[in-house]
Symmetry: none
Subunit: 214 residues, 4 copies
């Protein structure tokens, strides 16, 4: 199950490598995203990240002051990417249902194109909950996320789809739906996610169940 010879990384010589293109930092970020997505904060070792870039752990510390800092840098990137993608997806639409539809589709696309992004987001909640040193730094960043969702709900109220009184309920429901989709992301068959998105879309239109009037 493990006969791959682990290509002895031919020992580089000491000093600055000839092919230093100044992109190492970015490459580390990407490798870190993959590792954190696969293994979570505690489970991803600095060695794993370094090896994936073809570096020693020491070199990592030239670019990021600590594992924590590296995680936070990845988070910043991922969070921004997610928000951008969601906002861009929702922008063309005016109605709440349509905006949410678009976001749900975007999640599916994200899962396919950038599984490391959704993988990272899947672990995020648990990791942050477990490592107070991450929480401190991340909680403020969540504000932006909340604002986006709030904007969504606001649009629903403006359009008359939602009533004022439901604001909080809708906000929390939407959040939970999205978090739930991220949570189902990894290791599961992609079709589950697809089905769930379909289901949610129809639920939003009251079209999943033939509810008897009651």
């Amino acid at each position: 199950m493990d006969a791959r010879t682990k290509v002895e990384p031919e020992p580089r010589r000491r000093g600055r490598p000839a092919e230093s293109d100044g992109l190492t930092g970015e490459r580390i970020l990407i490798a870190a995203r993959v590792c954190f997505a696969e293994s979570g904060y505690a489970g991803a070792s600095t060695h794993m990240v370094a090896a994936r870039v073809g570096l020693t752990t020491g070199a990592l510390y030239h670019h990021f002051a600590s594992k924590r800092d590296l995680y936070l840098a990845v988070f910043a990137e991922v969070e921004q990417l997610m928000i951008e993608r969601f906002e861009k997806a929702a922008a063309p639409h005016t109605r709440f249902v349509d905006k949410l539809d678009a976001i749900l589709d975007e999640i599916l696309r994200l899962s396919r194109d950038e599984p490391t992004v959704t993988g990272f987001l899947q672990s995020l909640t648990a990791d942050v909950g477990r490592h107070p040193e991450l929480l401190e730094a991340i909680v403020p960043a969540f504000e932006q996320r909340d604002q986006m969702f709030s904007g969504l709900v606001e649009a629903g109220i403006t359009s008359g789809e939602l009533v004022e009184a439901d604001r909080e309920i809708v906000l929390d429901t939407v959040t939970t739906i999205l978090v739930g989709l991220f949570a189902m992301n990894l290791g599961q068959l992609p079709s589950v996610q697809q089905h769930a998105v379909d289901g949610y879309k129809r639920l939003l239109r009251g079209a999943l169940l033939k509810t008897k009037k009651r």
Copy 2:
């Protein structure tokens, strides 16, 4: 320099090992549940568990052959408890909506009464996704879970609420909804969960949005 001996962990027998010999075994299981719920599989150390019971790690190994086995034993207990509670909650009702309503309420109750159960379930997906040695043993157990949900959907079809064709969509949506609720469990304000449950209930009745006819 890298004698890849890594002895293929000889496949121990699946499921609950012959452990709960008396009270200590049960006390260990409870402590382990707390620890795994708080810190996840990798993050919870055998020492943490042992200390919580007032034992040494050595003693743990009298009752469970490995950390993995301990986790699996906890899983078995938790999964069974969850299924029992859900089935008991759903039983009195006949319609799909009502059954699902009852289950959603049960989740809320579970979060309140047995936070370690929901905490454990929160990490479960991620942990299993990350540790193949857990996956092997747990995937089969998920069948039971699926069966319960399938029963739910079947009831909906029988009652006429659902159509045959939607079977898979509904099944996966329901699963995703519940996993999502577990994922939102810890560290979040309990009100979020409450709101999300309210939101889902109304979604199921097509009563969250005033959808314009289209």
Copy 3:
């Protein structure tokens, strides 16, 4: 598994390397003095020194061949400064007691004006004792120190204060007194040093204790 290659550090040329080329070299020396004084040889990192000058560690190696060489260069400067100050202080006097008095006062002044000098000297004994690669280079330099103290004792003999036979005893006592004062230097209340100097002065005059005739 233990390829004891540890290349015998090829004996670089002793003493002050060809470094202080211009101002940067001097600034490095000063920064290094501060760092070694604060943290000792092992505790001071090249990074600390470089940062204090506003350089990278790489740049340090343009001026000094190694941390060891840097230490030795600082030592040379500090030792010379100390000897100069002591000799200048003792010069105006002819009697041994007065010369020693003057030196004791000079130590107090040095502690106040140049705490990094006395700080460095405080660690010197311990550092040299612990790092054989420093010892080699420094022991010879101690000769000069001994010569100064010998001169002191000689003056005492000439003036009739000391007898020939006590030469060694006095030399070692004086050395120990001074080393002791350096050792008490840092982190202690300055008043302790002041008191000790007062005490030593009076001891030298037989005026600290009312010794009963015996």
Copy 4:
């Protein structure tokens, strides 16, 4: 300079060794004393200590929670031993000079019999000054040392050798003398210490210099 083959410590097997005499803790303390005496706090590695006892670093942590704790435990032992020896040496005498004489002799004996004790004490001041985490814990313990010295001075006042007004001066002088002797301890020829002790004794009697009346 290092041809000793470093006797490959024949790999013990896992569990509890047969010859566990319950004295490992004490053996670790002794090894740690040696290492800290030789290399100081920062310079002594946990590996050095462990290897000297024939253990792995992991095993060390079974007995002491951290390197710091280990250091503090050594300190406690050393400090107590020193105080006991000094008090026992001074006890038979009533006059200050005689008590101090006895202590000076005791230092010489200690240097000879227990060089690790004096070696440890030599580094103590510097180590504590540099590692705040040690300072916290050690400063309170110094009280006892001060009390002993104070008792000494008190005896001098009672006996009429010292006057009230000199109390502080004498206390600080005595402290500095002793610290100085410890500082001269290692790597120096023992005769230096011997001479210094002789010198101090005669200084105390006003018998080192033939001071002209002035």
